[in-house]
């Protein structure tokens, strides 16, 4: 009899205090992030035939990438091209591109959030953080990834325009970092698989390497970050058209 009581109490306790999907998503969303970040990105793209393209980019960003400016350092063909993005809540994002050979700044727009960003396996949708209200969350279990205990969080989009039908994310139990994710297309087939490696800078867990594979195209993108500086006090006026024309030292 005592045993039954103990089991019932334990079930009650578990159901009262167990983490729900939405709570876990909230924890991930609430993670402390730097006010601004400077970094060098190396992007390596590999296509289905094993051919490789590499780019080196200097990046400044604030507000969790809502404002971002990128200068292309390599390859030589692209050196000098620069890109400025400012996201808005209530209107379309501002995106401008400096084309050094035309000596022109051109505003660009992609209404297609599903388009790939710079030929990589990441779409604009992948690069913007998910709005909590636009998804339904559930925890489908837990699993160890590289010996780290993780929750498995399933996110299903509500009525929004997206290329995905669902995402399955492996989120570390101790620090609520997404270290692995699988994203499925509208037909329920696996489309992309991601893995992320973090490093600790100051008090933040900062992405060090992102590996994205589009399994349907058999195309892979590896993004490596170095020379990372956080909270260095990037001023707001850096995100201006005139700064596109000069690569910072």
């Amino acid at each position: 009899m005592n045993l039954i009581k103990l089991i019932l109490i334990s079930i009650l306790f578990h159901s009262l205090f167990a983490l729900t999907g939405i709570e876990l998503a909230q924890l991930v969303d609430d993670r402390e992030s730097p006010k601004d970040m400077k970094s060098n990105m190396n992007m390596i793209l590999t296509n289905k035939n094993g051919k490789i393209r590499t780019s080196s980019i200097r990046s400044y960003s604030t507000d969790g990438n809502k404002k971002q400016i990128l200068w292309f350092l390599a390859p030589a063909d692209d050196k000098g091209v620069a890109y400025l993005k400012i996201e808005h809540e209530d209107k379309n994002d501002d995106m401008k591109l400096w084309l050094p050979n035309f000596k022109k700044v051109r505003r660009i727009s992609s209404r297609k959030k599903t388009e790939s960003f710079m030929g990589s396996d990441m779409s604009y949708e992948d690069m913007t953080s998910r709005n909590m209200d636009e998804y339904s969350y559930s925890i489908s279990g837990s699993e160890k990834v590289n010996d780290i205990d993780c929750y498995i969080l399933e996110s299903i989009p509500n009525e929004i325009k997206t290329e995905y039908s669902r995402h399955i994310s492996w989120i570390t139990k101790n620090s609520h970092l997404t270290i692995k994710e699988k994203s499925f297309d509208k037909n329920g087939e696996l489309l992309k698989s991601k893995s992320i490696i973090y490093q600790q800078i100051k008090m933040y867990d900062i992405m060090k390497e992102l590996n994205v594979k589009n399994v349907q195209r058999n195309h892979q993108t590896v993004l490596k970050f170095d020379n990372i500086e956080v909270d260095s006090g990037i001023e707001d006026n850096i995100f201006h058209e005139k700064n596109l024309k000069r690569i910072p030292k």
Binding site: K51, F72, D77, L99, R106, R107, I108, M118, G119
Partner: protein, 758 residues
């Protein structure tokens, strides 16, 4: 061997039947492993230069052979909400097929606009359901961009088109999947299909359907003809039994050979379609010769065993020789550039030899076992055909020189047609005028961008303005041909982007003057659009580009003219470091057809030499060797000569089918020669021997011809190659039988003094 066999037939007929049935079952067991391969692309040789270039292009840029679907209603504007809904649904459903690589339609295409200082890349059709304004907006964009419009909207504005790219050239399954979707979705529209992948996808099904039904008619006619002349159901059933047993053994042998060797050339492909018909003819011939001989002998002797003994003695050698020569002739197909023909040659040779064994074992054994009514009409009276041939033989032999002169003159006159034989293929002309497939293709040629393509593999720096300008120059030249509708390359996209980046100023619809600017345009597109959009135009390293010139259905000769002129133009006018190789299905077909025709002629020549050698060896006389090939050679000259006179083009299909002549053509001459030699040694006088020979072999030859006339049913097929197959069967039968009973018989009669008892 003959005596041993005769002993077995007369004393152990049941044992012989059981052994034959067991062997046939063993061979038929191979059917379990027989694979029907209806993918035409698998049969094309891979070691031709144009195929190599074509494959390189397809590896880098995807399949070049698209299927085109046009739907709409004549006279009714396609700019309608329902049409856009249909194209959206159609695209989504087709894309789900695992055999589809890509769908190019209004709903998958992008538009590139310069909008209030923006360079904007967006979906051409953003949603499934569009407002009237949105449709009008699309129409305005397409009117401003005629090159884009030509790819998706018909010239009269009442049809919309999609281009579907197959994955890994699995055209049969691909076509099946796509047609299943269009059949269910486009019920309210007129629908047209075209493109090489579509034609190569549907043709095997049409062939299968037509051959099955028309061959069935042919077999029924064969049975009726045999019944009318043999006037005995059991005798007809015996002939049909030999045919069926040899047929399943031949097909089973293909399964066995594939199982044992793992070589895909033993798959049953579209090329093998004529195999059952050829074997049916040969096995029928063996059976008919034996049965008619038996009837003739039993009529004379009044004893079944004696009649069987005489028949077997008389026919053992000729049936063996006809089988051996035909089998060897088919074995020459091993040298064919189409490797599947190797499997064809080996399997049919096996079938022919098995038909021979069955004809001299199981057939006499069943005859021995059956209780015959010797007073029945069939066994006691000659048939009408039999009496007719006896009269014909006498007439021919009265004026042998006149008949021979007429025959030689005919062949001489017809032979002038040999120089007029034109080697040409236009895939769409494989279908008769008025056929829905041909009409659909012609509609797409007329109203849309055309259903064929010429590919220019362009190797060079795809960011170099000089290279891009040279590509535009080649496109301009290609578009100057009346067969060409439009062309597309990365240079077109660069031109459009340049205009957009320069605020839509039409003066900038050009290639920028520096490499840096071209590179900036590529980068700009990768930031705002999807750089995958260029996958079918330029490779990952920007080192190879593809110019695709969309054409109407053209023949190989037209393609030769076009390619020669283009190559000379490129040599004279391309100044940049751009290397161009022209290919595509149409160029490949040009090379392929030449190769097949050449190798078919070599195969026919080799067959004649082999037949001559075998006849020489077995008849022990050079003269008989030479005479044995006269009817076959005459039939071949008549066939190709008449093709030349009547402007029937020689294609890879018709060249390959010519082997049918060899299959059916050699038998009669050998039977005639064997019978003449036998009669001359049996004591008939020099003046009687020819008449007696025609009486003995004329009837089975004519019955064989008559019973095979049913294959003329193939003339009713929708496919010209099948018509040719049917026509060739009839022609080969008639020409070789007449060749034997006129040319050979008169030559033998004229030179009988030199040939008697030789």
């Amino acid at each position: 061997m003959k005596s041993w066999l005769l002993h077995q037939v007369l004393t152990h007929p049941i044992r012989l039947i059981i052994v034959n049935i067991l062997f046939t079952m063993l061979f038929a067991y191979g059917l379990k492993w027989m694979i029907v391969d209806d993918n035409f692309m698998n049969m094309l040789p891979k070691d031709i230069e144009s195929r190599r270039v074509w494959e390189e292009v397809e590896t880098e840029f995807g399949s070049s052979e698209m299927m085109f679907i046009a739907f709409g209603n004549s006279g009714k504007s396609i700019y309608h909400q329902e049409s856009f809904k249909s194209v959206w649904d159609l695209t989504e459903l087709i894309e789900k097929s695992p055999y589809v690589d890509e769908v190019i339609s209004i709903s998958t295409m992008n538009r590139m606009d310069s909008n209030d200082g923006f360079m904007e890349v967006d979906d051409l059709q953003p949603n499934r359901i569009l407002s009237v304004e949105a449709i009008q907006n699309i129409k305005i964009y397409l009117d401003k961009n005629p090159d884009v419009k030509a790819r998706v909207i018909g010239k009269s504005g009442d049809f919309m088109s999609l281009a579907v790219r197959p994955k890994n050239n699995q055209v049969t399954m691909f076509t099946k999947d796509v047609l299943a979707v269009t059949d269910s979705l486009l019920t309210n529209y007129q629908v047209h299909y075209a493109g090489n992948s579509y034609i190569t996808g549907v043709v095997p099904q049409i062939i299968q359907k037509d051959v099955t039904s028309l061959m069935g008619i042919g077999i029924i006619i064969m049975v009726i003809m045999l019944l009318a002349n043999l006037r005995n159901i059991s005798a007809v059933a015996m002939v049909m039994l030999i045919i069926m047993m040899s047929m399943v053994s031949m097909l089973g042998s293909m399964g066995w050979l594939f199982h044992l060797t793992g070589i895909e050339y033993f798959h049953f492909s579209m090329m093998n379609t004529s195999m059952p018909i050829v074997l049916l003819t040969i096995a029928n011939s063996d059976g008919v010769h034996f049965i008619t001989r038996f009837f003739r002998e039993v009529r004379k002797k009044g004893n079944v065993n004696e009649a069987v003994t005489t028949s077997l003695n008389a026919l053992f050698l000729p049936i063996f020789l006809t089988s051996l020569t035909t089998a060897m002739a088919f074995m020459t197909l091993i040298s064919s550039p189409i490797k599947h023909m190797m499997g064809y040659g080996i399997a049919i040779a096996f079938g022919i030899l098995w038909a021979w064994i069955l004809s001299v074992t199981i057939l006499p054994s069943i005859i021995v076992l059956k209780k015959w009514d010797l007073n029945s009409v069939a066994l006691s009276q000659t048939s009408y055909l039999e009496r007719w041939i006896e009269r014909l033989g006498q007439k021919i032999l009265v004026v042998p020189k006149r008949v021979l002169t007429f025959g030689v003159l005919l062949i001489f006159i017809v032979s002038f047609g040999l120089w007029k034989v034109n080697v040409e293929v236009n895939v769409i002309k494989f279908f008769k005028p008025g056929n829905p497939i041909r009409e659909s293709s012609e509609f797409i040629d007329r109203e849309l961008t055309g259903s064929m393509s010429l590919l220019f593999k362009s190797t060079g720096d795809m960011k170099d303005p000089n290279v891009l300008n040279d590509m535009l120059l080649i496109q301009e030249k290609a578009e100057s041909f009346p067969q060409s509708n439009t062309s597309i390359s990365i240079a077109d996209v660069i031109k459009s982007m340049h205009k957009v980046v320069m605020d839509d100023d039409p003066n900038y619809e050009t290639i920028p003057e520096t490499r840096g600017k071209v590179n900036n345009l590529f980068t700009m597109y990768s930031m705002s659009g999807n750089s995958d959009d260029f996958n079918s135009l330029v490779d990952y390293d920007y080192e190879t580009g593809l110019i695709t010139s969309l054409l109407n259905s053209i023949s190989t000769n037209e393609s030769v003219e076009m390619v020669t002129e283009l190559e000379s133009f490129i040599k004279k006018n391309v100044t940049s470091k751009l290397d161009i190789k022209i290919s595509g299905m149409v160029v490949f077909l040009r090379d392929f057809v030449d190769l097949v025709v050449r190798s078919s002629f070599i195969s026919i020549g080799l067959s004649i030499i082999i037949i001559f050698m075998i006849a020489w060896i077995f008849f022990g006389s050079f003269r008989w060797g030479l005479l044995s090939i006269i009817p076959l050679s005459s039939a071949i000259i008549l066939n190709f000569g008449l093709m030349g006179h009547f402007e029937v083009h020689l294609s890879h299909m018709t060249a390959l089918l010519t082997s049918i002549i060899i299959g059916v053509g050699v038998d009669f001459a050998i039977h005639y020669i064997a019978e003449f030699r036998r009669n001359s040694r049996k004591g008939y006088t020099i003046d009687e021997v020819s008449v007696k020979t025609i009486e003995d072999v004329g009837y089975p030859i004519l019955l064989d011809v008559a019973s095979n006339m049913g294959f003329a049913a193939l003339l009713f097929s929708a496919l010209i190659p099948l018509n040719y197959m049917g026509g060739l069967m009839v022609f080969a039968m008639v020409s070789t039988s007449l060749g034997t009973l006129t040319l050979l018989a008169t030559i033998v009669e004229i030179f009988k003094k030199n040939l008697y008892k030789k």
